[in-house]
Symmetry: C2
Subunit: 168 residues, 2 copies
Amino acid sequence: MIGKKVKALLIDSETPLVKPAEEVAVVGVKNRLNHALLILTTDKYALVPVLDSDSKMRGLISMPTIMHAIMDIEDVHFEKLGDIEVKEVMDTDYPYVYDDFELEDVLGMLVNHAFITVVDKENVFKGIITRSEILKGTNRIAHEFEKIYDVKEKTINEEAISKETIKQ
Amino acid sequence: MIGKKVKALLIDSETPLVKPAEEVAVVGVKNRLNHALLILTTDKYALVPVLDSDSKMRGLISMPTIMHAIMDIEDVHFEKLGDIEVKEVMDTDYPYVYDDFELEDVLGMLVNHAFITVVDKENVFKGIITRSEILKGTNRIAHEFEKIYDVKEKTINEEAISKETIKQ
């Protein structure tokens, strides 16, 4: 459970937490790696979602994944970029949540992932939640929380609780 | 100013906030782009610091930067990767702080940058501060702050202050 007052500052009521699908660069499962490389070169993200023709989420593709796909122990075979389809090499073990997600889950996942994919129950891609958006909330909490609220240590078993929880 | 109690939970007293230089993949200013591409392919970061022979910080290099350097309007010239030095194309407008940094400054910079470089006063590279480390702190605050502390709205001018500060 996330504390209610912390949560209220972590999320900006005027800006949606999810960057909507139409604002996110994506590639198709049947695109070739040379096209994916072009998208990744022009896009600001280091990896992008891979969708099928029904806009359903299928995987993620990154530059390192593309490079690994065209490298062998001796050389990088750039001529293969036009032969390999994205679906052959994309990462299908990606982090995602449904569009009725709990903020708590997303917060935990973002420690290890640059962004979290949001899909509906039919797996249609709805957008992404980025670390940047949560870090804006962290800044609000850092600068404003103790200005807005009086914060006092709890008196009962306070020392025991704080030691236990901080260590987790 | 960051609230003291928020700050205490944001930073983990047992884990250093700065990932030390010896644990960060870097490339040299005189390395060729093919070497940088190899480092970026094996490293988990999408961009890496560029150092000179005195371990001083000179720039950042990313895969999109490398791709732009070998592309023209018609084609990608992979054969150029072995000819161009990193210092010719690296991004020299990178975010950094000195090793006596204020957390407040770092928090703000991380909204727009994947990591912040830490240097000493002689510009020697000391390490990086990542979004991941701050997001661990955000998780601690979200889950623990209101368990440890009693949080009450301030009574004097409370509504006026909270409206003003939240909007900033």
